[in-house]
Amino acid sequence: MSAPISIPRVSLSWLLVAQVLVIIPHLAHLPVWIIALWLGCAGWRIQIFRMRARYPNAWAKAGLMLGAAVGVFVSRGSLVGLDAGVVLLIAAFILKMLEMHTRRDALVLIFLGFFAVVTAYLFDDSIQLALFSLLPVTTLLAALIGLQQSGLAMRPWPTARLAAGLLVQALPLMLLLFVFFPRLGPLWSLPAPHSKGVTGLSDSMAPADIAELSRSTALAFRASFEGAVPPRDQLYWRALTLERFDGRRWSQASAAQLPLAPAWEKRGEPLRYSIVMQPSSQRWLFGLDVAETTLDQARQMNDFRLQRQQPVERSLLYQVTSWPQALREPAGTATGLRRALQLPATGDPRSRVWAAELKRRYPQPEELVQALLGHFNREPYGYTLRPPQVGVNSIDDFLFETRNGFCAHYAGAMTFVLRAAGIPARVVAGYQGGEYNPSGNYLQVRQFDAHAWVEYWQAGRGWVSVDPTFQVAPERIEQGLEEALADEQSFLESSPFSPLRYRQLGWLNQLRLSWDSLNYGWQRWVLGYQGAQQLETLQRWFGRIDARWIALSLVGGGGLLLSLLALWLFKPWQRERDLQRRLFQRFEQLLARHAVRRAPGEGARAYAERAMQALPEQAQAIRAFAAAYEAQQYAGGDASVVDLRMHLRALRRALPWRFTTGRRE
């Protein structure tokens, strides 16, 4: 085909639009200079199109390419890796647009565009982005159609409509493929996108960190229970334990990474639930008490936390079974207990003295813990997110001077005192509670639900959880952070527009919960539809399945969908209708030769009746044809055109032969 070299106007326009739409989702993680490059190049390209500028010459192209590569290296520190790769891809997309000359260039650009859309998914996989990305895909397809040499491709809107139509028609087949196409594990490992600025728990904790977290409304995870949701005061979501104390911060012991499975005993009724975790950039997973998960590459570590080999960089779905009444390490290990007794060599002398005194009064660990909890309960301790400043001896200052703080202060102080009294203890970091979403029957746990509590060890009973915060502010545990801070008005004070602050507004709250429920469904059923989840879902729907079954249903379902689409596209019944109309035209011509012409707008029946009066001898044949035509045309009769044709032939035979055609004037 002698294709003209240049790119049609419509295609170019759609490509320019597509470029905007492709780049928008990437804006969040692109360096600023690439936006300047983009605007410059797009402006230049438009000027070329308006014949006001020339294409860049070889030097300019080489300079731009080199400049972009250097820019990527400077801003990303490397030319490989996903972050740098995506910036390079976008830069290529921008520069190719500038030098695009031929249809071939346009095709390369369109395919690059599809790729750029896919890379956007690696950074963000929300519903909004998924829906939004239909726009660049439609415009890229419109640009592809615009490359055709057809009158239709000269007009922008029909091109876009056709592209959208193609996408809509492709949807059923796409859903079939999505459900049945077997998901493979990764073929090789690829650099993962860095989730920047993820708020969440970290492996060391100073009280200020938890205060920081409590200002964030970001979602940590969602959980669906198979049975009823347990009461709120039992929802202690463990993440990790903090065993090292340096006088200021609590942090994870290095030994916690040792792959030693702890000894424990399942007791009581298990709780079954599934969790969809938001990206945390950390390796630990969340679970209630002692938990087991079916997730590959995840295991129970020696402090009973669940940990994965890779950090969670994308939302992650896993099934969990928890035993809240399990007996944890009733015997204990020497090294483990020694870790749980570690204290800094010096500091906080008053606390140590007080601990020794408690130890004297309550020789039994259990009594001592009760006494400590009673102390927090009785004495004027307060729960606040704005704690007063403490000095070098932070535990002393908190316990005896300021007496105001939040969970991290209480957990840290209690662990310190227990250890000083010779009872192995550790701080547990995690989340407490969560908001129940009735429209989706699940719990949503946010960063401000972050919590710290205490576990102490007792021979024979193993590790036991206690929460000193409960003694001070039971409403924090039973109702949540907002109620605990009701007097202080400090709940989410730095984010005045968060919908979470307006939970008392019924419709707004309903809207928020529904939206969250939709997102949760999206995460569970779309994003989490991988490997095991796919197999499980298919088995639940269809019973036992194997590879042959999947292949058959793909082929069979695809064939069925395509036939339906073909029926809809080709409308074979319309062809039948066409034939009927043509036969009626012949009928008209035949009668017109005998001077019975159909008046404009005259119905088939009226016309036939008039003809019957004019040609009484052939009335029967005319009636037969008209009746058959009417039956097929209007009553949806399924008779074929064959008998219509037969009636027409009978009529022709009945009529005297006449040559002059009565053309309509």
Binding site: L107, F115, L144, S150, L171, L173, M174, P186, L569
Partner: protein, 318 residues
């Protein structure tokens, strides 16, 4: 091997799509295959699928499947764009060797519009036409002529890549069209035999005379006129190109004789062709004699056509 394959293919094609003056494209006539662009598209999809697998990204899977489904749905659309199109042979007028032969064609749509239908005879370029819904598009296809005689252009290629260009639907149809190609006119000596009788002596005399006697006057030069009759003196005086006109050509019975010329057959036919045109233009009656074929003295459009036809078909099996 390829020849064997080709002949088999042609025979199969002739059975499947027999020659007819009007062809309606249906699934019997239409073939469909991914184009080069389609192959590139499939490659891009494969890369996207790899990204989806390696990043375990459901949305990437989704987009890959969506575009893959578009690919499959486009098969129906590309096929539909060609299906139902009716091609009807129009006429074709005769041309001289070296001119472009032009075949007229009517593209009719009974239902849908058909976009970007490309027609032609490869390796020549294809022409692209749109056919409106329930409408007609007339087109004229040209083809280079190299030999005199009947020109049968062979099977016409009809193809369409609409809407996405990733698939190619095509057909080879035979509209049973042919056009007559006359020899290329070549100015030169007048192959004259006066009278239609076979008088050898007289023929020789006139052949020598070449009709250059009886100078009649001057007329302006026309392409095809012999250079020998150019009036160079007038040209040097700046009166333009003039040709000496000879009365010898008029008033006497003229017979253009193949045998009075020398040289190879094609050259002789070209010379005869020139004179047929020349004499017809001057409305001078003449006869034409070819080995095995004789046309009596006459003039007029019909005579001209008959002579040219005889020249074009000279030597070809009847």
């Amino acid at each position: 091997m390829t020849r064997l394959f080709r002949s088999r293919w042609n025979r199969w094609l002739a059975r499947r799509i027999p020659a007819a003056a009007s062809v309606r494209l249906t699934q019997r006539q239409i073939f469909i295959i991914p184009s080069q662009v389609g192959a590139a598209f499939a490659l891009a999809l494969a890369l996207m699928l790899l990204a989806a697998i390696n990043y375990q990204n459901s949305l990437a899977y989704g987009l890959t499947f969506l575009l893959g489904s578009v690919f499959i749905v486009a098969i129906l659309h590309t096929y539909r764009n060609l299906a139902g199109l009716e091609l009807k042979a129009g006429g074709a007028s005769a041309v001289f060797v070296g001119e472009q032969g032009r075949f007229r064609l009517r593209l009719e749509s009974t239902q849908r519009a058909h976009q970007a239908i490309a027609l032609g005879w490869p390796p020549g370029a294809l022409q692209v036409h749109d056919v409106p819904a329930e409408g007609v598009s007339e087109c004229e296809l040209s083809i280079a002529t190299q030999r005199r005689g009947w020109l049968r252009p062979g099977r016409l290629r009809v193809e369409s890549r609409f809407p996405l260009g990733i698939l190619l639907a095509w057909s080879w149809i035979d509209l049973d069209q042919a056009l007559l190609v006359y020899p290329r006119p070549l100015a030169g000596e007048l192959p004259l035999t006066a009278g239609s009788d076979d008088d050898q002596q007289e023929q020789g005399a006139h052949a020598q005379g070449q009709g250059t006697d009886d100078f009649q006057g001057l007329r302006s030069y026309q392409p095809g006129d012999s250079k020998r009759r150019m009036h160079w003196k007038a040209y040097s005086r700046g009166q333009g190109l003039l040709v000496k006109d000879f009365a010898a050509l008029s008033g006497r019975d003229l017979c253009l004789d193949f045998d009075s010329l020398s040289g190879d057959v094609e050259r002789r036919l070209s010379l005869l062709c020139h004179w047929v045109l020349h004499l017809s233009e001057r409305q001078q009656p003449f006869a034409l004699r070819l080995p095995g074929c004789q046309l009596a003295q006459d003039s007029g459009e019909q005579h001209r056509e008959a002579c040219l036809r005889a020249l074009a078909l000279f030597g070809s099996p009847p």
